[in-house]
Amino acid sequence: MKAYNLTHLKELEAEAIFIIREVAAQFENPAILFSGGKDSITVAHIARKAFFPGKIPFPLVHIDTGHNFPETIEFRDKYVNELGAQLIVGSVQTSIDEGKVVEEKGYNASRNALQTVTLLETIETNKFDACLGGARRDEEKARAKERFFSHRDEFGQWDPKNQRPELWNLFNGKKHFGENFRVFPISNWTEMDVWQYILMEGIELPSLYFSHQREVFVRDGVIMASNGIVPQRESEETVTKTIRFRTIGDMTCTGAIESDAGNLEHIIEEVAASRQTERGTRSDDKRSEAAMEDRKKQGYF
């Protein structure tokens, strides 16, 4: 007798497709938050499958800190073009120029936190009522408690203690005027699941994820790209290392790891053997024990 069983990747994919279609059905004006990182690429890929042979019925939104790796932007433009999707860019530089946010100062200055203001403004201007994101519950403690359909009040805030219960696969996207939702279709995926899925599906990624030579410097044990964006102390010597990035964020807060993994198979071996979480190289999470929870409450991704 045939066993009617799905592999875990197929089951996770089926769940994500269901959630993305639910967003298309329950909301009037959704969008995909697209950072050019592997998680949002995975979400976009699944969205493409969900509506095939139709096109993804919503735009991709990128919040550009102005400090993105050029490789990310290049990939983004090529990818969006291939999808035939609309791209909307929210610019942190514009928010700074308009005086809506003040840039951090000092050696560890990052525009990461400023993104929230630009993000909320982009949501408001475009009247998005649901934003799909690639956040995963295994990434961080506060995220472990977030729903698939995460309600945001009219100020874009998340209230972790007052979340709607989420039962079976019945998702409640009802909201009042001015409120919106963040929706996370790959909530149940781990870093390993994402990499295995990328391998299984043959998904293309920015070159930053694969081993390459780069001029870098080391700060507090984190390898940072040396390219004039992050101010370097004199003691922080520039060296050339063979590295890759496990996550892709703003250049000011994304650290690299030394790695020879030049293809997906090798990356998977490396992830399997790794004893550090991928956010271990993210200086933005290290600011305090509840750094992510605080940022999320304010409306961060």
Binding site: E11, F18, F51, F52, G54, D138, L167, W168
Partner: protein, 428 residues
């Protein structure tokens, strides 16, 4: 080389199954320690995570590294040492990937337990070996049964504190078997463990040679979950209609959705509810692939031979096996809101991809979840209460009994003023 071999990952990862389980028990039962132990012994905790909790434990002056801190994500939880909300944890072995819905066990958190249980294949219920069966053991087992969790594993924990005594373990096991025979749970298992010392969690205990049932992890890896979905009654709730506005797919009209039961194949004679129109399945598609069959819980797109008017909320079924179609449904509800249930109140209702409104026509009884007694003279249904009610819906629902199919047998109620989800319902 076959395609299968080409796709095979170095560690065979692509063949893994997914098991979702929920854990019930209070802090004192060692639930967080058990989860910490599973994660730690299966090498699913990363160094930086471990260092972070080591640091916090030190700061608080704890003697041991407190593995419970791994699962308490919110600031208030860490400060107060309690779990407020369902937290989801992940780990994998070469055989299976596991999703743990870690739910707090205090009496006021029935709502969270129900939430965690709604998607679980398996429940782990912790029992303190020193205390034996407690009121909360009834409560947790009742909720697991109510939510139709197919497998329940009772972990008799803290065996180290009763000198690994076989007789005491057997007494607890007998007690549990006695009361759970009154509940509808398909598969019940037991394991004597010590989460603190690691006995029978991931590694076999050296101190309980009398126990031959396998470690907890062995059970989690090997329990047969292939029959947990209904593969008999064909149910396809239409979620979204795909009509590409392109020249290439001008005539394409696909019904997208997730199969809720049964096995569908191209050529099958089907009926669409509520219209009652018949047709045949032309194709079942998943992205660029045409499938020979599809079953729960796959997300697919179905094309029919005939052009009939179908929209979200409709259901495609087999002619010879139809669901119940009714506007009056009896359900067991778990109330989840601060605002009590209004007798004769009107609520929004979601069932599969269907939306309706409903009127609470009758409240039959409330269940005392500690004694499992029916309370018929108190019809004031408050947060965390479980009750049997009759609803009248504005349009017919196409449903199966919850015990037959958890997807087509479940509903949620929504407060139309606040938009909050106020109840989970299982159709009887």
């Amino acid at each position: 080389m076959s395609t299968q071999e080409e796709n095979a990952a170095p560690d065979g990862y692509l063949d893994m199954e997914l098991l979702r389980f929920t854990t019930a028990g209070s802090v004192d039962d060692g639930k967080s320690t058990l989860i910490g132990r599973l994660l730690y012994d299966s090498k699913s905790i990363f160094e930086d995570q471990y260092e972070a909790i080591e640091e916090s434990s030190k700061r608080k002056g704890d003697e041991h590294v407190n593995l419970a801190l791994l699962t308490d994500g919110l600031r208030a939880e860490r400060e107060q040492g309690i779990t407020i909300d369902v937290a989801y944890r992940y780990f994998a072995t070469p055989k299976r990937k596991f999703i743990i819905a870690d739910t707090p066990g205090h009496i006021q958190y029935t709502r969270n337990m129900v939430t965690g249980a709604s998607t679980a294949n398996l429940a782990l219920i912790l029992v303190d070996a020193r205390k034996g069966v407690q009121e909360q053991t009834y409560r947790h087992t009742f909720i697991a049964a109510l939510l139709g969790i197919p497998h329940v594993v009772f972990c008799i924990n803290k065996m180290d504190l009763i000198d690994y005594d076989e007789a005491a373990y057997n007494k607890i096991k007998d007690d549990i078997e006695a009361f759970s025979s009154k509940l509808d749970v398909k598969d019940i298992r037991f394991a004597p463990i010590s989460a603190l010392k690691g006995d029978n969690v991931v590694n076999e205990s050296q101190d309980m040679p009398w126990y031959k049932g396998g470690t907890l992890l062995y059970m989690l890896e090997n329990i047969h979950i292939g029959s947990d979905h209904n593969h008999i009654d064909c149910r396809f709730p239409v979620q979204y209609v795909i009509r590409p506005q392109s020249d290439q797919y001008h005539d394409f009209r696909g019904y997208a959705g997730r199969i809720a039961g049964g096995v569908f194949k191209p050529g099958d004679d089907v009926v669409v509810l509520p219209s009652g129109f018949s047709s045949k399945i032309k194709t079942i598609e998943s992205f660029e692939e045409k499938l020979e069959e599809a079953f729960a819980p796959m997300s697919v797109t179905i094309q029919l031979e005939d052009d009939i008017d179908i929209s979200r909320g409709d259901m495609i079924v087999r002619d010879n096996n139809r669901p119940h179609v009714d506007q009056d449904v009896d359900i067991m509800i778990c109330w989840m809101s601060d605002q009590a249930l209004l007798a004769n109140g009107k609520y929004g209702l979601r069932h599969t991809t269907n939306e309706a409104r409903c009127l609470v026509k009758n409240i039959h009884y409330k269940v005392d979840i500690n004694t499992l007694h029916r309370i018929e003279d108190d019809k004031n249904i408050k947060m965390n209460d479980i009750a049997r009610v009759t609803l009248r819906t504005t349009k017919p629902l196409f449903y199966d009994r919850y015990s037959r199919n958890r997807v087509t047998g479940s509903v949620i109620l929504i407060d139309e003023g606040t938009n909050e989800t106020v109840a989970a319902g299982m159709i009887i």
